[in-house]
Symmetry: C2
Subunit: 231 residues, 2 copies
């Protein structure tokens, strides 16, 4: 939709990968609609994943007993967070929709993207106590996980060896995104592209591009337990 | 138990933190039993979390289209993985029990520990296709997650705002540890130490030390869906 702003947080090492293609078609389709699209290419940026004392540029509140969460919260309020964090926070602040594009690593995001979540979505910026879940500071924004898996859709079914895919989505969609207030759109899961045929891969890319054409009309999913799991 | 080998993978920035204390009492109690205990102190090691081309010291199989999983699998077989990975793999290989000690970040492990999982537990070393889950290569080993939370036990109950704690444990216990074959012992969750009284914190530390006294007699939990969730 013309004028909407989108941030794509992208975590793949290879521009010519299937994840790279999914990222590219999203950029293309959203720009075609007139959206303003920014991309954080985490590996290309060599984005720092570790949450350390370096994230605070000024003096610490308590240098004797380093508490990352407390210090980062204080640094956010004093505007003394490391610049790589504040630059990402600016991009998030401007975005109407944040898309995360990544391959599933151990039922979760790759560490470089986990580090983006750990460091960028800090207290004061993304939430406060008790401003979290529906009251989180990012509550006027949408978020969407677009991911590829190694396993097949059958493996990620309720009776499959890896269990319902909603089980692994839970910590990301509810524990991280919903906690910050994001309205979460249904995940786009491209199952097992590495063992799919070229035709099937093209189908998955086309399905993603097609979905993005009407993305602004979608309703968010419910992240409320235990209904989330269909119980 | 005398002669048993334990690896503690520890992810906290501050030695004097509650997580640091939990790590220390585990080292002390296990050594008192006559166990050989190694600690991987990930922040102190400045452990690299990002999964990149640098993890392969030799030539790539396909430099035109970098596929991390494929390249690391080949490098494992050719013994050309980066030394920080192989050193951790040696520690895992020698261990009878691996304990992960960390604060919960976004319903999961901190990025530095996610990076340890992403990089160390590679195909060829920890699993192969189809040697995974019960057939994973680490099937003669035990694993245990010992973690602290920000939220209270009530928040992490089935009817609580954050849902049953088993929901967030699933990707770690089943998706990562069980996938590699580990027999998983029940998680040790120290809820909300930051808002607990000094007496309550001491109680949590004592409970952990006490549990470790009989840890070698414990039976692993079942990681099989959907029973895992008590359904």
């Amino acid at each position: 939709m013309a004028g909407k702003k989108v941030l794509i947080v992208y975590a793949h090492q290879e521009p010519r990968s299937f994840n790279g293609t999914l990222k590219n078609v999203a950029v293309d389709e959203l720009r075609r609609q007139g959206c303003v699209v920014a991309v954080s290419d985490l590996y290309a940026m060599d984005f720092e994943p570790r949450a350390t004392r370096n994230d605070i540029t000024g003096a610490l509140s308590n240098p004797e007993l380093f508490n990352y969460g407390v210090e980062v919260y204080e640094a956010y309020k004093k505007r003394s967070l490391a610049s790589d964090i504040t630059e990402e926070q600016k991009k998030v602040q401007e975005a109407d929709l944040v898309i995360f594009q990544f391959p599933l690593y151990w039922f979760s995001v790759p560490a470089v993207l986990k580090g983006w979540m750990d460091r960028v979505l800090c207290q004061g910026f993304a939430f406060d106590i008790p401003e979290f879940y529906d009251a989180g500071f990012l509550k006027d924004k949408l978020a969407l996980l677009s991911l590829t898996t190694g396993g097949t859709a059958e493996m990620y079914s309720k009776a499959g060896v890896s269990g319902d895919f909603r089980y692994f989505l839970w910590p990301l969609q509810h524990g991280a995104l919903h906690f910050c207030g994001f309205k979460v759109l249904a995940a786009q899961i491209s199952f097992a592209p590495e063992i799919a045929s070229e035709e099937e891969r093209k189908g998955m890319v086309a399905a993603w591009a097609q979905r993005l054409k009407t993305i602004w009309k979608e309703e968010p999913i419910s992240c409320t337990p235990p209904w989330y799991f269909g119980q």
